[in-house]
């Protein structure tokens, strides 16, 4: 890690305005503030426009999801995971399902794995779209927000088409998918793949070479790589500092090793670098989706595990055995062998890990979520060190946190 060279923070030396002897002002930003992206409260001390000290006060969106999980059966936890990071639901579904499947020793059929990969990547694009829109509007570029939301609407329709839900899809279940992909899914994905590259190009045309955007983002939001690793920052922020970490490559899960894609990195370690990384990630996601589209295997969409996976309605109504299993799974759930497992996936925000402990009953003993937003948000105090308010807003956007994900 130490061999990766990160540039010095250009801001710290250059533009600190020395205002002599002044009184500090304490400003309470949030919990209701246009650019805290949720209910985050930041107490900042100001010397003129320069922030001298910042403290993040998290916990306003604490929902107790981790505790709630303990009173649900294994399958019932899936909808709760949707609500943790409500902008990348399917990544959460995936992490949880993979963790429980690991405990159960279930092998998920290839078709389900491919669909999981495809939809996770669409989720990544969806999440990055919201990040792009909101961080651009934080810098005053209003229109980008609306352009991003047009594509997000298309993605949400796609999710609705697959799962019947726009946001809280719960489409991945333990043992596979909730349903097979609906007829005509190829047409939808094709349309999506056709339209997205030109849209990404449009945003890049708007922002990449925009002198004001570059001025506002280049050299802004610096934090040293060592500090990031200490705070537990993961995802695009680390990749923006030149560290090539991506769980999809490092610890492949759900047959990610069968796909070819690049892990984009930037060495500038600023808001602009993170922007470039995320834009490139969207293009790479499109590549993965294209490969899923081309090489989608035929077959079953759930594992062959009648004691765990609900039988389909047809079998349930015609076969005695299936009816019994259905009754057992619905009323008391299935049992998971005692043990504990940690399963991490690369969510759009970074490493999303589920640590699942089972005591052998039909309910989880404990589920701990290692959420990327929480780690990323820890860097706030460092990012806000002696920068003007305007820059703090830019770095806040570049962190790309979701408060639901932070507070659980």
């Amino acid at each position: 890690m130490a061999d990766i060279e990160t540039p010095a923070a250009p801001y710290l030396e250059e533009t600190v305005i020395d205002s002599g002897t002044t009184r500090e002002m304490t400003l309470n930003m949030g919990p209701q503030h246009p650019s805290t992206h949720g209910v985050l409260r930041i107490v900042i001390k100001l010397d003129g426009e320069i922030i001298t000290d910042a403290k993040a006060d998290i916990g306003y969106l604490h929902t107790g999801i981790e505790k709630q999980c303990e009173s649900k059966t294994w399958q019932q936890v899936v909808p709760l995971t949707d609500r943790v990071d409500y902008l990348s639901n399917l990544s959460n579904n995936l992490a949880y399902c993979l963790a429980v499947e690991k405990l159960l020793g279930l092998e998920v059929p290839l078709r389900a794995q491919y669909f999981r990969v495809m939809l996770s990547e669409i989720t990544r694009i969806n999440s990055h779209l919201i990040w792009l829109g909101t961080s651009a509007i934080d810098l005053g570029a209003m229109s980008v927000f609306f352009y991003c939301f047009r594509e997000r609407e298309e993605i949400l329709r796609l999710f609705e088409f697959f799962s019947g839900q726009r946001m809280m899809t719960s489409y991945f279940r333990i043992g596979g998918l909730a349903l097979d992909a609906p007829r005509g899914w190829r047409k939808w994905i094709k349309k999506f793949l056709d339209v997205m590259p030109s849209r990404i190009e449009m945003w890049e045309n708007l922002l990449n070479e925009n002198p004001i955007f570059k001025k506002r983002t280049q050299g802004v939001g610096f934090i040293s790589l060592e500090d990031m690793l200490d705070f537990g920052v993961t995802g695009p922020m680390l990749r923006g500092a030149g560290m090539k970490v991506d769980l999809r490559k490092d610890v492949p899960y759900s047959s990610y090793d069968k796909f070819t894609f690049d892990v984009p990195t930037q060495t500038s370690n600023d808001v602009y670098g993170r922007y470039l990384v995320r834009m490139e990630e969207m293009k790479q996601s499109l590549r993965i989706i294209q490969q899923c589209y081309d090489g989608m295997p035929e077959g079953d969409w759930t594992a062959d595990a009648p004691k765990i996976v609900l039988p389909d309605r047809e079998r349930m109504k015609t076969q005695m055995e299936a009816l019994i299993y259905h009754f057992k799974i619905v009323t008391e759930g299935f049992r998971v062998p005692a043990g504990d497992v940690y399963q991490a996936v690369e969510s759009p925000r970074g490493e999303l890990g589920y640590y699942v402990v089972s005591d052998g009953t039909s309910k989880p003993y404990r589920i701990f979520m290692r959420t990327p937003s929480f780690g990323n948000l820890q860097s706030l105090a460092k990012l806000f060190e002696r920068v003007p308010i305007a820059d703090s807003i830019a770095s806040l956007g570049s962190m790309d946190f979701v408060l639901g994900d932070t507070d659980r």
Partner: protein, 404 residues
């Protein structure tokens, strides 16, 4: 008619037209911005949201003005009043056209409120005082965001006053006058019969630079994107008017749009030839009726198609088409047969058209660019705009001195 009666009538007409225009500039802004951003904009109140400004005015007037307990009451109440009053006053020295002359009554009056021979100085002075409205509003609110907004605003407006004044001086040097009317009149005529003798096209390329500096400084003066730091929503919530509601807010809001109109009008007079047409006279007279007739044809053509928009467009499109068509036909008649009315209306049309073109630029930029950072904004004006304006002014002065 005694001068005072004419002046009062003119003041009433100008105030009415200006206030209506303010409301509709805001409607245009919302509509244009919406279409840039893939939205529809105001749509429900009246056909295509045309009555939305009226609804907004009624809402703002009837709304309860919440005054926080911690404000400095006197300055808190005075600030928006000051902002809007100063913004409205500056329109009084701007001429809108040549003159209105009714030969049948033997009546003649210039189309402006007052022809001050130092008109441009009056506008500069008033816009300089206009800073107080914003700064006091930010300070008197006793709110930290407002304070930061007011601070930013006053620093920004004072800094941008300098390059703006320098940019203003160069057309003054060419025209050798400070009166707005004389400025506009000095730009009549055409080079080679087709390039208008506007200041913009004189002393190429010095005056184009001056125009750009003026427009950039104008953006900063009116706190518009990309210089909207005083009300940067994402940083300072609403900046200096965070604590204002009801008419207090409306005051600041109106002042912003009024300043925009003033800046555009001044730019038109200084650089874009005031009411001078873009083509030589006999042809340019027909542009105005042509535009109205085209609008009418467009509306009627669309009303004949199967409309996918409002069901009411079936009725409102032809109605507006007929209104525009009537206006166009009327204008055509005026241009052809009523010389005294033509002398009044055609210059007015050109002036308003240029002002609206510039206003459209303001709105367009708002839909396109991100916002500067505070220190970048200051660096931009002091280290770039100011020296360029200075050099441009020196060069212009030199050329003008050598020419004469």
């Amino acid at each position: 008619m005694p001068l005072i009666v004419i002046s009062i009538i003119k003041a009433a007409v100008v105030a009415f037209v200006l206030l209506t225009a303010l409301a509709y500039v805001q409607w245009i802004e919302r509509k244009v911005l919406a279409h840039i951003q893939l939205r529809v904009g105001p749509y429900r109140v009246g056909p295509h949201g045309l009555l939305q400004p009226l609804a907004d005015v009624i809402k703002l007037i009837t709304k309860e003005g919440v005054m926080p307990s911690h404000v400095n009451k006197f300055f808190y109440l005075m600030a928006p009043f000051m902002a809007v009053a100063l913004a409205l006053i500056s329109i009084s020295v701007i001429p809108f056209g040549t003159k209105l002359e009714i030969p049948a009554l033997g009546f003649s009056t210039p189309m402006e409120l007052t022809d001050v021979n130092i008109g441009i100085l009056v506008i500069l002075a008033i816009s300089a005082v206009g800073v107080y409205g914003v700064a006091l509003g930010g300070w008197a609110s006793n709110n930290k965001y407002s304070l930061l907004g007011g601070l930013r605003s006053s620093a920004q407006m004072i800094s941008y006053e300098l390059p703006m004044s320098l940019a203003i001086v160069s057309p003054l040097l060419i025209a050798n006058t400070l009166s707005m009317r004389a400025l506009a009149e000095s730009q009549a005529g055409f080079y080679f019969g087709f390039i208008p003798k506007w200041h913009l096209f004189q002393l190429f390329p010095l005056q184009i630079i001056a125009f750009l500096i003026f427009v950039i400084a104008g953006f900063a003066e009116t706190n518009r994107v990309p210089f909207d730091l005083p009300e940067a929503e994402n940083e300072l919530v609403a900046g200096f008017h965070t604590e204002y509601s009801s008419m207090g807010f409306a005051g600041f809001f109106m002042a912003e749009y009024c300043n925009m109109i003033t800046i555009c009008a001044v730019a038109t007079h200084l650089f874009l030839g005031g009411w001078q047409p873009i083509f030589p006279a006999p042809y340019s007279d027909y542009v105005a009726p042509l535009i109205f007739l085209l609008a009418a044809a467009f509306l009627i053509f669309h009303s004949l198609q199967t409309l996918k928009t409002r069901t009411w467009d079936k009725y409102t499109f032809p109605a507006f088409g007929v209104i525009f068509g009537g206006l166009g036909a009327g204008l055509l008649g005026v241009v052809a047969f009523v010389p005294w009315l033509r002398e009044a209306i055609i210059p007015l049309f050109w002036f308003v058209a240029k002002v609206f073109l510039l206003l459209f630029l303001f709105i367009w930029i708002r839909g396109t660019l991100p916002r500067f950072r505070y220190d970048q904004l200051m660096r931009f004006t002091w280290l770039f705009l100011f020296p360029v304006a200075l050099v441009q002014l020196l060069a212009t002065a030199l050329v003008v001195a050598l020419w004469n």
